[in-house]
Amino acid sequence: MTLFGATGRPYGRFQGGITVSVVQDAQLHEGAFGERRNLRSVVGAVGPVRLTTIAIGLWIVALADRSWTTETSAGSAIAEPGEFLVTLLDGLTFAGLLFVVASGFTLIFGLMRTVNMAHGVIFLLSGYLAIEVQQAMVGQERNIEPEQVSLFDWIFPTLVGAAVAAAIGVVMQQLLLRWNQGEDLRQAIITMGVAVILADQMLAQFGGLATTMEWPGATVHFFEILGERYATSRLFMLAVALGAGALLWLWLNRTRMGIVIRAGVDDQDMVRALGINVNLVFAATFFVGSFLAGVGGAMGASFSGAAPGADGQWLLNSLIVVIMGGLGSVKGAAAGSLLYGTVVAFAPAYLPRDYTFYSVIVTFVLLAVVLVARPHGLFGKAS
């Protein structure tokens, strides 16, 4: 396939999805590849994205891990409904955690155009703090058993971590970012500096070994679902995420501050011309955005532990989610989390067994496909 079409113009922007270019391509090669024309026009008519989706769907639903196809870690939905359901739940629950972290990131970006590179560090710091508080509450530093952890021993540390995270976010915004409002690049570099400093301080303070927070004992069970065992704690994580999402929705839609924030995302100058103190609104947004990172940090510390490097990983996760969903859109963060969570769960389960190490690449293929079809993300608007 050439990079340039018949007119000599690159297929740079695909207005209506990739379909267009393939149809053009099919026509271009009509003479030379006449015998392949039918296949090509089928691909052109259905669209390669849709065709790939159908193929992947068929693979997962019916074809994977059969005696006459390639071996995969999870069986197809028809042959092994339990394994399929578990994979689906893995995706959903992980998406919940992704949403909590990424919605805070997208909220801050949407209103202030600030790419908060310190979001991951705030996430991790909250995780570490929540672990410390939980250990102090249980009165034991290591080998805490779930039975020792009451629901309050999880919720209180989470709130402490999130409150500190929120405070750091507000201080950073008022002390460092406020003077650079509208200077996107400068703000990104300032927050990156904060991230580097905090990450090193955390390494000095909390060491280089991974520590974990315990889920409350009441949620640590296994239950049987279609012959598979599944951990209740993952569903608890999803419930916390749904709760956070519902509160965020109520705040944005049912309070005066939320209305002002949505208006500010649309047209900040007009909000100011209506006599509304945007600085206060900015501070509140940083508070809530960082609070969400903090809640996510405690959830993450319980889910996969807190360790150096998790900050960068979760900054990257947030970026992938909000770039797919559309920067600044909370709805987009939800959609992006679902997509990303699903792919993260399904790729290793359904790639042929010898190729599961390629599952990371699938994430970026997904990102590329979303951006080709919708350059501003699923719910994004051109700025």
């Binding site: 005066r256 209305i259 002002v260 949505r262 208006a263 995302v265 649309d266 047209d267 100058d269 007009m270 100011r272 011309a273 209506l274 006599g275 509304i276 103190n277 945007v278």
Partner: protein, 234 residues
């Protein structure tokens, strides 16, 4: 004449090296005033400069005798200038009701409350829960005016309120503006549309390349073809 409400004194303002406002001066009391001028003479820039949304290069803008040109838009708005901007600039993510409820609850004796706006424009009340972008042009303009009223300021600045509206809707708006002025709110209307400008206010300021070139009355402007031709190109 009592102390003027708004005084604009030799204001210059521009983007880069080109001056858009070039020593513009006028003053007004609690009254209705129209500023008329051709496309591109700096009318919209004047509106934005009054609200502090574009920086003023030199000169002074005083509201009730107090210089305001260096204040932030939110401070200026709270001192009493409300803007109905060109193109309405409603918030697409907000419903009609949310546009009117985004303000801090005002004191009980404030003239304008969301309910009072709904009384002024009953059509908005019918579309309470519609999104800002789902309204007709006229309804959008009513909402933009209502939103400005809720600031309960002394002066409302309207940039091209008749733009893109059907004549019957323009009449509704002009009626509303007359009511506001009668109740003691000053209104500054910036217009290209001569018919709308002259029916809103008696006092007409003619703007040409960034300054006020002439002052006349609505009746004279309406009847003086030579004046119209010289300054407005109609």
């Amino acid at each position: 004449m009592a102390e003027p409400l708004l005084e604009v004194d030799s204001v210059t303002c521009g983007y880069g090296i080109s001056a858009v406002l070039d020593g513009l001066s006028f003053s007004m009391g609690t009254e209705a005033v129209s500023i008329v001028g051709r496309n591109g003479v700096g009318k919209s820039t004047l509106c934005l400069a009054l609200l502090g949304l574009v920086p003023v290069g030199s000169g002074e803008i005083r509201l009730n005798g107090e210089p305001i040109q260096a204040l932030s838009p939110e401070r200026i708005a709270r001192k009493g200038i409300a803007l109905v901007p060109q193109g309405r600039r409603l918030f697409p993510s907000l419903t009609v009701d949310e546009h009117l409820k985004m303000f801090r609850k005002s004191t009980r004796d404030a003239r304008w409350t969301p309910d009072a706006v709904y009384d002024l424009f009953p059509r908005l009340a019918e579309r309470r829960s519609n999104g800002g972008a789902e309204l007709s042009g006229g309804e959008q303009q009513m909402l933009a005016v209502g939103r400005a009223l809720l600031l309960n300021g002394d002066l409302i600045v309207m940039d091209e309120p008749s733009e893109g509206l059907a004549p019957t809707i323009v009449d509704v708006l002009i009626d509303a503006i007359h009511r506001l002025v009668a109740e003691g709110t000053a209104v500054l209307v910036v217009e290209q549309n001569l018919a709308a400008a002259t029916s809103v206010a008696d006092r007409q300021l003619v703007m040409v390349s960034g300054r006020i070139e002439a002052e006349t009355t609505a009746e004279r402007l309406r009847n003086d073809a030579d004046l119209q031709h010289r300054y407005l190109g109609v």
